[in-house]
Symmetry: C2
Subunit: 153 residues, 2 copies
């Protein structure tokens, strides 16, 4: 699996926004609406600002973020961190999780002795999906503060 800079940045931005909601009123004065500005995300996670703006746009269009323009604008999650998975974010910015030469796994078009390969890609796809779809943003935030749990798989 290749995790692109785009996907990586998207996850880090989502985590930073989720953390701001939890930490509650990050220094701003706590007026209730927890909006995080793109500029502050870019700084705290070291992401080029103009690049990040495009990513945030994708996340909003995918329905994961809510945005607000103007002086006190910014971004907020549309759902609680417990209900947003890593897979949601990955698919929002990166399309399909598994591709074979640019095509989705199930339509690779094999013939002859290679026919069995489709099953392999499907199995890989399922294995990846199981991991990323069962890990939520909340899980990752908790993992950060506590000791790292040994992989139970």
């Amino acid at each position: 699996m290749y995790v692109s800079a785009r996907s990586d940045y998207a996850l880090r931005a989502m985590l930073a926004i989720a953390a701001a909601v939890r930490g509650g009123g990050g220094g701003g004065g706590g007026d209730g609406a927890e909006l995080v500005k793109a500029a502050s995300l870019a700084e705290v996670q070291e992401i080029p600002l103009s690049f990040l703006q495009g990513i945030l746009l994708d996340l909003r269009r995918a329905g994961l973020l809510h945005s607000h323009r103007g002086a006190e604008g910014g971004y907020a999650l549309t759902r609680p961190p417990e209900e947003i998975t890593v897979g949601d974010v990955l698919r929002a910015v990166g399309g399909s999780l598994t591709t074979v030469r640019g095509l989705p796994a199930e339509r690779a078009g094999y013939h002859g002795v290679a026919a069995g390969l489709t099953d392999v890609w499907l199995a890989v796809h399922g294995a990846i999906a199981t991991v990323v779809d069962s890990t939520t943003l909340a899980d990752l935030l908790d993992r950060e503060s506590t000791d790292r749990a040994p992989t139970a798989s």
Copy 2:
């Protein structure tokens, strides 16, 4: 996971060679050599010949193929198909299975709220490895002739 044309071709070529060994033997031969030429692989699996040659070279350098030059030359597996996994082939031509922005997963270098992401990539990597390292070329050849189990999806 992105499966490149290179990886895809490599697997198809390996399967075709494995199939030739099985089906072959060439009328009571038993000489064990059973060399397959690059040109015939290219034709039967519809792979550009010159591109395929570079791939076969990688597979040989990784110790998966044995080659022989000259008029009766060609390629053969160094081990029986039961002992070569999909993961072996993938790693031979593609390097690491999982990369985060070009780097191996464990050295992504996160900080702050994103620290938990490393665990996710490691889990994904493990899940992929489990699938590709437990599927052998022999498995795929057998699967081709039998009925394929319906995917529960």
